[in-house]
Symmetry: C2
Subunit: 367 residues, 2 copies
């Protein structure tokens, strides 16, 4: 199922946040900041009808251009009218973490259909660095994401966009509570800060609980990043704040970037050192078996592929193997998912065909 | 632990029965015939003392030469005084199926030590085709073994030797019962006929019970060939008769070679066909994953190595992979065992070192 047009453009390269670069990239895959905003004078999305959501969408599109946030003739800007996308494209955008499940599904008041629900996402700045969902839970959900541990720059980028938008649109704001949002947990700064962590050594040594406790102590959430459930496919965990009220953005950032993330990075690095120094044979065996499976299997589930990729990523960071490089491994973490596989194949694939295509992709990419 | 002398000679090549040749070699690894004989005028081994066993041993050695069965200046004849061998050499000979556990252990009447127990094995004819154990359960246990399904020729070879020995030594024989043996199950012809079968497809499809029932119906035993227990390491099963009384050698052979073995071969080939035609992707995946593990693992247990070798042997017979060839796979089935590994390493290895050496051997041998 090869897409034409903007979706094809998007699917034809890997997002920059999977480049494998940035600070502490051995443990931190990416840093992400999201701001939730609503426009004054309109109902929240969940309370609005189709015509109001349509008005919000048009208003946003016009004003993003007016504010100079997007320039529609810019190649790296892509405005997608979500109600016009097919299932396949929606799936692909979810896999890339450009849209949420909620935006894909749409709002279905009685008598309304998802394909009539006005909602959009705009992806811009090179490498899908910034995206804005319109009419998700809030009128605006603005995201910036970068590789490695770079929350400061990521926040700076999304804040600059936020300021520009605020110049042209009046946000729903209370002097007492701050930015008003559909869900009370977002009221205040409307910020969610998250880092995606790769923690294979802690999982292997059975020490993930340590990270969970440290996160819980600071009221942070630790979730799997990909996949349906809360489990961490391939040892990738998303660490994020759960509430925003009563903390400035700076305090939140310093708690996450200045305190817990460095601790988790240290836990993971110590665990890797332990694997290398005290359980080297075991670890080499684990890493090379994963490489053997990836380069030989004829059928691979997404979960198994993620798990084996995680182990060779660990092997790479321990210096146990040189090839494939981290950016290739990271890219594969995305390409193993169904819509991306089908895009590459140029046709719909059933589950068995996807397993075969996934295995072929691995064999052709990893030598 | 590299051995010098005759043991080294033996360990430096693979026995002919693992060559991968012979009739129906896709399923039948080897055909083996054993004759149990005792010398008239001496107690059975279990009832004898050291001096009597010493006398039997000397008598046998002298008369095998006299009968022209062995010529000690012949390069392919190797007489081994088992009581003089160390643990390591005994282990290596057991792995090659040249001596039994009982012969290695020796007879330990009160006050006697195994290293004083006179017992021997003579290996002769190219490729270890024939061997004779002296003072095992019976005075003589004479074996011939060949690759593939060739019981006729194998029986002919051992019978010719038996006749020559009978010309110079008087066997314990009863006109009513036939050849007399220490264990009543061997009385009569003293023959045990066995074929080693490779039945991976039947195991994969859960149809081994079919073979077990067919064997039980004919009072035949189906056992694992290598390893401690009765389980078939690597899907190799030894099918053999359990009793000898009341059946001529010809009848026994026709039952095994003319009836049950062809049926089992057909079962297995049908199962392989089914795997190829109805579950091809599954089978390819299985075979190539095994190849991936063998060529990438850094630690391998003997059981895992046997099991993966079995699966690539299946893959070879299905035409799913060309390399390694069957003789290489068969040879590895022997070389993965502890004494052979240590012989190759030239030193004693602990269990962890053996796992590493086994994995290295695989990576260096299979490309």
């Amino acid at each position: 199922m090869r897409r034409e047009g903007p979706i094809r453009e998007i699917l034809s390269s890997a997002p920059a946040w999977l480049s494998g670069g940035g600070q502490d990239a051995d443990v931190v895959l990416s840093s992400r900041v999201r701001l939730a905003r609503n426009i004054s004078g309109f109902n929240f999305v969940g309370k609005s009808d189709i015509s109001e959501r349509g008005a919000v969408m048009n208003l946003v599109r016009k004003n993003l251009a007016k504010a100079g946030v997007i320039a529609e003739d810019d190649k790296s800007t892509c405005w997608l009218d979500v109600s016009k996308l097919d299932e396949f494209s929606l799936e692909a955008l979810k896999e890339r973490q450009i849209i949420s499940r909620l935006l894909a599904k749409g709002h279905r008041a009685s008598g309304e259909k998802a394909e009539q629900d006005p909602r959009a996402v705009v992806v811009f700045r090179p490498g899908e660095r910034v995206s804005i969902m319109v009419n998700e839970e809030d009128h605006l959900r603005m995201h910036a994401v970068r590789p490695g541990l770079t929350l400061d720059e990521t926040l700076a980028e999304i804040s600059e966009i936020d300021d520009k938008v605020e110049n042209v649109l009046e946000y729903a704001f209370s002097p007492r509570f701050g930015y008003l949002t559909a869900c009370p947990t977002n009221v205040g700064t409307g910020i969610r800060v998250s880092v995606m962590l790769h923690l294979p050594a802690l999982r292997i040594l059975g020490e993930i609980e340590k990270v969970k406790r440290a996160a819980a102590d600071m009221s942070l959430a630790l979730r799997g990043f990909w996949g349906e459930g809360s489990d961490a496919d391939g040892d990738f965990y998303q660490l994020s704040n759960q509430t925003t009220l009563g903390k400035t953005e700076e305090l939140l950032l310093s708690e996450i970037q200045g305190s817990i993330v460095p601790r988790v990075i240290e836990f993971e690095r110590k665990a890797r050192e332990k694997l290398l120094n005290q359980r080297r044979e075991y670890t080499e065996d684990l890493v090379y078996r994963s490489l053997g499976i990836l380069t030989h299997a004829r059928r691979l589930s997404a979960a198994e592929a993620m798990s084996k990729l995680s182990e060779i990523r660990l092997g790479h960071s321990l210096g146990l193997l040189q090839s494939p490089d981290v950016s290739t491994i990271n890219r594969l973490l995305l390409l193993v998912h169904p819509a991306h596989l089908q895009h590459a194949a140029g046709r719909l694939l059933n589950q068995g065909e996807r397993k075969a295509a996934r295995a072929t992709l691995m064999r052709e990419t990893i030598c």
